[in-house]
């Protein structure tokens, strides 16, 4: 490599190094800062510490945790808060970068709309409706229990409600909810919503077995298998029914 070329290379690289220090936001910054921090764009160390990144302590010198969502950094009330209820006061620790990224290039890697609820104090974690609006559909309007009975705090869907605990929706029962829960009333159900289970037929079959209390089907039947019977009627009656059926089949032969 010639001496001239070496010099040209050295000068160019030195110019680039100087530019990196004079215009760090253009040369090395991972994208534009959020508008609120635009004034800080050439002052990387306003937020960053060398080799340890952006530190929460630096954020909280301006953004007091007790004021977030209520007052601006200059102490004025916030006209239009981003959340209905201020919740930063209920965080277990001030780990700002766990949720916030100010550079456009870093924000790209954040999954928007995700919030780790473990960052909240335990009591605040159970108060879903202070931040979230309750769904207004027929199903949720009837639910009076805690959201966590069916939903995890990681994601709303899929809900963890397990219908199998009550009745297994197998291929024979792959139907619309209203077939069993008339008018979407999930506090009650009926098994007579389809032509397979007419009230007369069910009554006849149960009376044959000596079962008179057959109004609450899921008390004994948890799936489409009529031999998989639970409760007090399960053992004796199930076997009786089997033996009776076998006898009937034998008679038919």
């Amino acid at each position: 490599m010639s001496r001239t070329l070496k010099w040209i290379l050295a000068v160019n690289l030195a110019v680039l190094a100087i530019l990196a220090f004079v215009y760090p936001h253009l040369m090395v910054g991972p994208g534009k800062l959020i508008p609120g921090h635009a004034k800080l764009e050439a002052d990387c160390f306003a937020c960053h510490s060398a080799f340890t990144g952006a530190e929460s302590q630096r954020c909280t010198t301006c953004h007091k945790p007790q004021d977030i969502g209520k007052l601006t950094t200059v102490g004025l009330p916030i006209d239009k808060p981003l959340t209905k209820t201020p919740f930063h006061q209920k965080l277990v620790s001030s780990d700002c970068v766990a949720c916030h990224s100010d550079h456009a290039g870093v924000k790209r890697f954040r999954t928007t709309g995700r919030f780790n609820h473990l960052l909240l104090e335990k009591t605040a974690r159970a108060e879903c409706q202070t931040c979230h609006k309750a769904p207004t559909d027929d199903l949720h309007r009837q639910v009076t229990g805690q959201c966590s009975q069916c939903h995890s705090q990681d994601k709303w869907t899929p809900a963890t409600f397990d219908h199998r605990k009550y009745f297994e929706l197998d291929r024979d029962h792959n139907v619309q909810c209203v077939t069993c829960h008339v008018r979407n009333d999930y506090s009650r159900y009926t098994c007579y919503g389809c032509h397979e289970h007419s009230e007369q037929k069910i009554r006849r079959e149960h009376i044959e077995e000596g079962i008179r209390d057959f109004n609450n089907c899921v008390e004994c039947h948890r799936n489409a298998d009529e031999h998989d019977i639970r409760g007090d009627f399960g053992k004796g009656r199930g076997e009786g029914k089997d033996s009776k059926r076998r006898k009937r089949e034998k008679d038919d032969d």
């Binding site: 490599m1 690289l13 680039l16 090395v28 550079h103 890697f109």
Partner: protein, 192 residues
């Protein structure tokens, strides 16, 4: 330039460069399609390590290290730099955030092309011109006629040899720019 030189040497070179571009586009698309963009964010690290590892060939060639077969090191240099470049290109994605890393990416691209010229064109073209000379000699052509026949091949070869001379300076530019990018990441990244 003869038709053969284009078909046998420049075309494979173009294909190898094109394959790098195509693999980058396909990889970038797949990372976005399957919501795995975060993988691209970290591909810069193995990509850089592969490129650094491939430099052992240069050390071996200059006898700065003695172990290993030069041919094997060369193979590793070729594969390592191609694969490392692919990873770095995927890491860069199509997002423009800062000037320095993009200058490093461009310098890397020029460096890869320069390296491929060294690998494909220079090596094969030299063999091709020598082969052509032998062929014409066997046919009983005079020395002047042979020189005339291989003239454009020789000119191309000469130009390519000169072009290859910029490979080292380009590498130095790439190395310094990449180092600047890596240092800035070390300086500002939240390692804690």
């Amino acid at each position: 330039m003869t038709h053969n030189l284009w078909r046998s040497h420049i075309l494979p070179f173009t294909l190898l460069v094109g394959l790098l571009g195509a693999a980058t586009l396909v990889g970038d698309f797949l990372l976005h399609r399957f919501n795995l963009v975060w993988i691209g964010r970290y591909l810069g690290i193995p990509g850089t390590l592969l490129i650094i590892a491939s430099l052992f060939y240069s050390l071996r060639k200059r006898k700065m290290i003695a172990s290993g077969n030069v041919k094997s090191w060369l193979r590793m240099h070729e594969v390592g730099t191609w694969l490392g470049s692919l990873m770095v290109l995927l890491h860069a994605g199509i997002h423009f955030n800062a000037i320095l890393p993009w200058l490093a990416t461009v310098a890397m691209g020029v460096n890869v092309i320069s390296g491929m010229v060294g690998k494909l064109l220079l090596g094969r073209s030299r063999e091709h011109v020598l082969g052509q000379r032998d062929h014409y000699q066997l046919r009983g052509m005079s020395k002047e006629d042979i020189e005339r026949a291989v003239f454009w091949d020789a000119v191309t070869l000469d130009a390519m040899a000169k072009w290859r001379k910029v490979h080292i300076p380009i590498f130095i530019v790439f190395a310094v720019l990449a180092l600047g990018h890596i240092l800035s990441i070390f300086l500002f990244w939240g390692w804690a």
